[in-house]
Subunit: 125 residues, 2 copies
DNA sequence: ACCGTATTCAACCTGACGGTTGACAACGGG
DNA sequence: CCCGTTGTCAACCGTCAGGTTGAATACGGT
């Protein structure tokens, strides 16, 4: 029960995390936040959109657990949270590895079949 | 010029790849395709949606370069392409590492400040 | 106390997404 | 040759994402 809840919850986190990073503006924000915390205004500066739009983007990142906002007077400095990244890389790497392993097996199989083929030919000639 | 094109193109691939994996159905498909190729019908079986919907999902995955379809009579076997995964993990890992390194530096800084603080206190007492 | 700065909230618009159904294309088996 | 199987295309629909603008909130400086 608790186990299933945990899995579903993780599903949801992955949904949100991948969706959040699907937007190039948000990916750029994350990239910049990796090297330093920043306020909403600072983050908004390079982009040609309203401050409100940036605020929305930050909310998405926050809901995805990629970021959290603290407070400093009227500023709301944004700080990157790296944990969720782990979840994503684990998911990706798991299936990438599985797939690649399978490819290797298939390659080997094909190689063996070729081997047999040539041996057969040699025998027939 | 070619360099910039390349970067933009990669941006676009990341957009599509992250967006594609933001959908739990599509992630599940990828998970299943990691262990074996499958036809559209086979892929559709577990889900409670029309075959057409599944076909659309596959188109999304294909456009994202995560998958490609070959042909075998009227079947269209789907095969996972692992390359794009690399692109994603590289992106994620780059910034995760950058962020974590920064955190470590901050931790060290805080530790030093604490050290100074206690030394000061010791001196004052 | 007031004003300016920094940010969010609310309402709205548009386009894309995920789903449906119905028609159509392609191919092999009997 | 035709029929069933497998899958795609096209049109449509409801919902949500990302953008806008305008008002509201929260705080510090003076």
């Amino acid at each position: 029960m608790c186990l299933i809840n945990h899995m579903v919850e993780q599903e949801d986190r992955l949904n949100k995390a991948f969706a959040a990073l699907a937007d190039p503006t948000r990916r750029d924000m994350v990239a910049r936040l990796a090297s330093a915390d920043a306020t909403v205004g600072e983050l908004a500066a390079p982009y040609d959109v309203s401050l409100q739009a940036v605020s929305k983007h930050l909310k998405v990142l926050e809901d995805a657990g990629l970021v959290h906002r603290s407070r400093d007077a009227q500023r709301r400095p944004v700080h990157l949270d790296a944990e969720v990244f782990d979840l994503m890389t684990k998911w990706i790497e798991r299936y990438r590895r599985e797939a690649e392993e399978r490819f290797r097996r298939i390659d080997r199989l094909l190689a063996e079949m070729n081997q047999d083929q040539t041996e057969e030919e040699r025998g027939a000639s």
